[in-house]
Symmetry: C2
Subunit: 181 residues, 2 copies
């Protein structure tokens, strides 16, 4: 099994449209846009909001937007928000069990980090450095460099149409039930 | 949950005594030496043997020894033998689902690697480079640099005593049941 689950894949993909300052959207719309489960994505965006990576604009025309500039949100920020600080390796400190210690491990045996654990932490640190070195802005720029020039406009238009639909629907509801907000 | 399970921790710890050319041992003895489950370790050593990292010497005085020099067995070799090629991230290629494609993703959308997947693979590669850069010889040297000078001799003596006990026990069995080998 992979270290990071689909939450990271879904979260990162669904944050990308929000890198455009013209797009804010509900988690339902982002899920529809990327073809993923709306119920699952709603939970992920609640978590991303709690972690301070997105904020929710209230009202019929509202939705999620990034809470910081795309260049200030790293891939590692998103991973840690969604999955916490997942380690490569869980050290159970078995070095103290060595039979020659007879149940009483000497001080030197548990001094400092277990050397196996130290290698794993070094590998994990290198991995995290790469993940921290790529931002949502980098991912969005790479997508833009591959896509035709019209693609960002098409994306914005898709979300605009959904938002307009929502606003119209809310206005119609208010006409029918004037007491509702 | 961590990417690598206890099999990696147990495997690496139990391979360390075999870095000494004077030590070869059964998986039962290695498990007793490191205070881990003998049944679990027996399975791990069967896997390590299949992967060509250890070889088994037959007979009452036999046991496992490294199949290559400790400097030629990396931490990554042991991990891959025990757990296979575990990825950081499983890409489900959701980029083709984007709603603006209307179910017919254009060529550019699936050209090359998904940029999110590419970041994960870069992080994984850095992690693997670190794991490949440390060998059993390095781990054994680090342990030796921390331990008192007498420790390697104590370890060898512990395994010698077990092997002598095994040989005596086998000889006694042969005296009682001369037909057995």
């Amino acid at each position: 099994m992979a270290l990071y689950s689909t939450s990271v894949e879904y979260g990162l993909h669904c944050l990308l449209p929000l890198c455009s300052p013209d797009v804010h959207a509900s988690s339902q719309e982002l899920a529809e846009f990327q073809g993923v489960s709306p119920a699952y994505l709603a939970k992920l965006f609640t978590t991303l909001k709690r972690a301070g990576l997105v904020e929710a604009l209230e009202g019929a025309g509202g939705g999620y937007r990034l809470a910081r500039a795309p260049a200030d949100i790293s891939v590692l920020d998103v991973i840690e928000a969604l999955e916490g600080d997942k380690p490569l390796f869980q050290c159970n400190e078995i070095r103290g069990n060595c039979a020659v210690f007879g149940g009483k491990p000497p001080g030197w045996a548990s001094k400092g980090l277990c050397s196996i654990h130290a290698v794993m932490l070094e590998a994990e640190q290198q991995m995290r450095t790469v993940l921290a070195g790529h931002t949502l802005a980098d991912l969005a720029a790479r997508l833009e460099s591959k896509a035709p020039k019209a693609f960002p406009r098409e994306v914005t238009a898709w979300f605009d149409a959904r938002r307009t639909g929502r606003a119209r629907s809310a206005a119609a509801t208010r006409r029918i039930n004037p007491g509702e907000k």
